[in-house]
Amino acid sequence: MAVILLPGMLATEAGGQRRFELDAGTVAEALRTLPISNLIFDERGELRRLVNVYVDGVDVRDREGLETPLAGEETIRLVGAIAGG
């Protein structure tokens, strides 16, 4: 089972749940099962520009993007790239 960890705003939107455990073949599949998927993907199904996804500490952009395969032991962290006041 892969583990997905959500930041505060997304956890609030997920009913207070910060940690999800699930089986999925790819990062995209895993993220689309989340109850907050429409906050991390836009209406085209594209990952929002300021949402960063890390698999075991590595940005998926430096792996195979959202198609990065999951073996089932990974920890996926979502981080909103928030800047400013």
């Binding site: 505060g8 705003m9 997304l10 609030t12 939107e13 429409n38 906050l39 991390i40 836009d42 209406e43 085209r44 929002r48 300021l50 949402v51 909103g80 790239a81 928030i82």
Partner: protein, 357 residues
């Protein structure tokens, strides 16, 4: 109870008082992390709807059926792929009419209108606005191409109006099925042709509830009144207003000849004139304007955003405004005198008054 919904850059606050409106308590922040462009309380069932935006997580609408204790988020909202557009921001939620259970309207950017028939769970884009024949003549204002004003005629079930910056005012006589530009007589001084059919930068549009054929408009280029459902407009700021530029607008709910504006110097200097926060009122349909300052700060270089002004329907009616610097001022005597009811809030984006048990 009177509830003033205060949308801010950092969530929603609610000011609560009894009908005397002398003592206020503050609730919140709700919707932490969400820029709340506008919030409204649906008079049909007491639900609160908020047009919420995040630079990271996008634009949506939140609903609370328990006065803010818990919230749900829209399940479906977005623009169709063949439009080539994506939803940018949600701006204004307007409850449907009495008897239209579950119906709501949502103004959004880029210049789009949505309708919900299930109390905000899903939102369908209004195709007649999305694909309006004049859309190629619309341009975004500094805040994006926002549909910020939605007004429903209480006496004509199929008549409604929208205001989009900078596309102008549009009227529908068929419940949103089609839209006619309603900008004759309103200026677009920033255009090569200052009198186009569309492209005007309307900042706020209100219909008078006691005389629905009368519309008031605060525009980038002047303050206007229409007595014929937007067929023609009269420019009003010639007598007493320091400037025709401003954003917010409020009305006396019983007197169609009265309106309130908060002018700013102009487009290049967006603060209130003369080093004070002043509310200007007309009681003669805009022929003349009088300044009210009692209880308002001086010196002050304030700014009130387009949604930052509201009024209730009590007698005497209350008027409320919120500043970009985080203060809320309330008047319980129809705008004659004011008092600061909250301060040091985040930047205030919207103020909406509601009376609900």
């Amino acid at each position: 109870m009177v509830r003033i919904l205060i949308g801010t850059r950092k969530g929603l606050f609610v000011l609560v008082s009894d009908d005397e409106r002398r003592e206020w308590t503050i609730e919140g922040p709700h919707l932490v992390g969400w820029e709340t462009f506008h919030a409204t309380l649906d008079p049909r069932d007491g639900a609160i709807y908020a047009a919420t935006n995040s630079p990271v997580y996008g634009a949506t609408v939140h609903r609370s059926g328990d006065l803010g204790a818990t919230w749900t988020r829209a399940e479906e909202i977005g623009l169709p792929e063949d439009s080539g557009l994506k939803l940018e921001k949600t701006w204004h939620v307007e409850a449907g009419r009495e008897g239209e259970d579950g119906r709501l309207w949502l103004g959004a950017a880029p210049g789009v209108l949505f309708r919900s028939d299930d109390s905000g769970a899903t939102w369908q884009v209004v195709e007649s606005v999305l694909r309006h024949e004049t859309r190629d003549q619309w341009n975004p204002g500094a805040g994006g191409m926002c549909c910020h004003s939605i007004q429903l005629d209480p006496t004509a079930p199929e008549r409604m109006y929208i205001g989009i910056s900078a596309a102008g005012v549009f009227r529908s006589e068929d419940g949103g099925g089609s839209w006619t530009p309603a900008n004759q007589g309103t200026a677009a001084d920033f255009m090569p042709d200052p009198w186009p059919a569309v492209g005007q930068c309307v900042h706020k549009l209100l219909l008078h509830p006691a005389r629905p054929d009368r519309l008031w408009q605060q525009n980038h280029c002047g303050v206007y009144r229409s007595d014929d459902r937007g067929e023609s407009w009269e420019r009003l700021e010639g007598n007493g207003l320091p400037s025709g530029f401003g954003f917010p607008l409020a009305l006396d709910p019983r007197d169609p000849d009265s309106a309130f504006v908060v002018p700013e110097y102009g487009a290049e200097n967006r603060v209130t004139p003369d080093g004070r926060l002043g509310v200007y009122r007309t009681s003669d349909g805009g022929a003349s304007w009088d300044l009210t300052t009692e209880g308002l700060p001086e010196p002050a270089w304030a700014a009130v955003m387009r949604e930052g002004f509201s009024f209730d329907r009590l007698d005497p009616f209350g008027v409320y405004l919120g500043t970009q610097s985080g203060s809320v001022f309330a008047s319980a005597d129809g705008g004659q005198s004011w008092s600061e009811t909250a301060s040091q809030l985040p930047t205030i984006l919207s103020v909406e008054a509601a009376v609900w048990p």
